[in-house]
């Protein structure tokens, strides 16, 4: 595929596949975006993983384990998509660990109470779904396909969060207060997940042109707010924005100013949990090194002894199994 063919494929809304010709900047933009997305999934395991041992019932615990496992899976789908662009998994992790690639700012906030698990599912996963549904039609095939798979699974994440928060919101006064407190703390950071305002988003125009992005940050943020306000009413919880009200002229909810100074502070490493998240991630990676090496050594030994897998027609093996 030539440069001309690339332009035609984009214009015709066709997908670009791994071995097609693509501009280096397109490749670099995708690697950066998909890697950041993958990193967000695996760092995102931490705030909720924090509550697995303290979930209030076996049902909630089983749900939370399944959800955190999904986040790991989403990270792996995305690393896999990123590798189709020629990126190397070990390099990507190295760039995360050394701070050269980022992850979503939202995971630098602490999960202080059990209600946070519900609020994260409802608001954080809700915002993520709004972003990700748009990415299912991204011009890069492997990324779009990974997003389709992820979106199918995210729906459970948001619904379990809403259900959990709904139980608290209609529980004892103490539970209700805990739910409200969690929503107070997660609402604004969730709105920041859509990124800077359109006029302050440096990569947006080019990404829209390449159809990596389909909607602007502000459009998606508005869409999320419009969906979420009525859900908050069902919960009977207040969203912590006194300026939030329906604007019939616009056909959207108006909302107050987002504290972008806070956003920039958290992006640049000075959020409540940045250091803790990274230390935990690096410790897990370093602590697992001997396991990875032992598995490689074991595989090499099996091959040496001739006990390794020799391939052969898989359909025949299947018949035996």
């Amino acid at each position: 595929m030539s440069e001309e063919r690339f332009g035609q494929a984009i214009a015709a809304d066709q997908r670009i596949e791994p071995r097609d010709w693509m501009p280096e900047a397109y490749r670099a933009t995708l690697i950066r975006q998909i890697a950041q997305h993958a990193h967000s999934e695996i760092i995102g395991m931490q705030p909720e993983g924090n509550w697995i041992t303290r979930a209030p019932s076996l049902r909630r615990k089983a749900i939370l384990i399944a959800k955190v496992q999904d986040e790991a899976g989403h990270g792996l789908y995305l690393y896999s998509a990123c590798e189709t662009l020629g990126a190397d998994r070990a390099d990507l992790l190295d760039m995360l660990h050394s701070g050269r690639q980022k992850y979503s700012t939202i995971f630098n906030y602490p999960s202080l109470t059990w209600a946070d698990v519900g609020a994260i599912g409802w608001l954080v996963d809700g915002a993520a779904i709004t972003n990700q549904v748009a990415l299912c039609r991204c011009s890069y095939g492997p990324y779009a396909r990974a997003m389709v798979r992820i979106c199918k699974e995210e729906s459970f994440h948001q619904r379990q969060g809403f259900e959990s928060l709904n139980a608290l919101a209609h529980g004892t006064p103490g539970q209700r207060e805990m739910a409200q407190d969690a929503v107070n703390r997660w609402w604004w950071p969730s709105l920041m997940m859509f990124g800077p305002q359109d006029d302050k988003s440096p990569h947006s125009a080019q990404s829209m042109e390449w159809r990596i992005k389909r909607h602007s940050n502000d459009e998606l943020r508005q869409k999320f707010i419009d969906m979420t306000v009525p859900q908050a009413e069902v919960l009977g919880l207040r969203l912590p924005d006194p300026e939030l009200r329906w604007n019939p002229a616009r056909g959207h909810y108006d909302f107050g100013a987002i504290d972008w100074a806070e956003f920039r502070r958290v992006v640049s490493g000075d959020g409540p949990c940045n250091r803790q998240r990274m230390e935990h991630r690096v410790a897990a990676h370093d602590g697992g090194r001997w396991v990875r090496e032992a598995a490689l050594a074991y595989a090499a030994k099996l091959r040496q002894r001739g006990n390794g897998h020799h391939g052969g027609r898989p359909d025949q093996e299947e018949a035996v199994a």
């Binding site: 595929m1 097609d20 010709w21 792996l76 896999s80 189709t84 990875r292 595989a299 091959r303 390794g308």
Partner: protein, 94 residues
Amino acid sequence: MSREWPLWEIFVRGRRGLSHVHVGSLHAADAQMALRNARDLYTRRQEGVSIWVVPASAIMASSPEEKDPFFDPAADKIYRHPTFYTIPSEARHL
């Protein structure tokens, strides 16, 4: 030997009667581990009844640059399609 686990391409049969379809890739030390990891990664919701794992390095792919010359030979053989032939309308079941 590389210190990193090699890459495997994963193919899943969704249910009996369907072919295996490529779903993505993963890293694993050997084929057995690739199978188990593929089960945990790609079939958490019963998306499959059978999995193939193939070392990514074993896959040879046609090149997109050669797409036209490579697939051209089929383009001018329209007589391979049933619609190429004119059949009298009174001839039935053809």
